[in-house]
Subunit: 121 residues, 2 copies
Amino acid sequence: MSKAYNVMAATCPSRTVLHRIGARWTVFVVNALAAGPMRFTELKAHIRGITSKALTETLRAMEYDGLILRTDYGGNPPHVEYALTPLGHSLLGPLRAVREWAETHVPDIESARAARSTTGS
Amino acid sequence: MSKAYNVMAATCPSRTVLHRIGARWTVFVVNALAAGPMRFTELKAHIRGITSKALTETLRAMEYDGLILRTDYGGNPPHVEYALTPLGHSLLGPLRAVREWAETHVPDIESARAARSTTGS
DNA sequence: CGAGACGGTATAGATTGGATACCGGTATCT
DNA sequence: AGATACCGGTATCCAATCTATACCGTCTCG
């Protein structure tokens, strides 16, 4: 049995892992970094709608979990680069599956929502 | 290019879709319902740690998006069943990929966290 | 009569996330 | 020389969200 973890267990660490993945911005950061390392402002520009704070916290959390690597080239003007670790890279596959599902099924979901809005109640 | 949607666009509907998927409990509900329809309390017992309110809201949202189907058999005692729609079912594949990634890489992440805690600061 | 199952709701408290503004240090524009 | 902008963030405040706890009506069982 290689499956030592059961997601439903509530005491299980995979809960926290799943929570991190679903953390609203993680997906986008992984996605953005897929093409190669990026700097902070670059990342911020790429992921439209994210604030500095959100980005900072997401990056910190991901670094803490070993998903990305932060490299500070110091000096001045500040130069910091973020890159995916092998672990972060391995997340790309599963995440891409979800993203593609989302992109594919947007019409279905929108029509479901529309149906509820017009027909419902 | 069949990719009419770009996740990074911020104005893009796939954002909301992705947000729904990452909504903390959605994954678990889909997972639980994979085996077949379930009743409210059954679901609540299966997903350890979820509260009635969280479950209710998750189910409502998922129903609104056409991911699940709520069937009220009325009468008494109350009898309500939740089942995956075909759309919800199609989500199972991508989600399972993520879940398996999570289960597989828990040790990696935990060791990364441990390394940060002992070595860091 | 009293208790429990069922499918939730109501209320309040804790936690998280977002928006906006600002920071220090340098380089550049005027 | 002064004003401004770039870079990688913080600080602060406020709003939305999540959680915990208790409770509801109806019915059946004992």
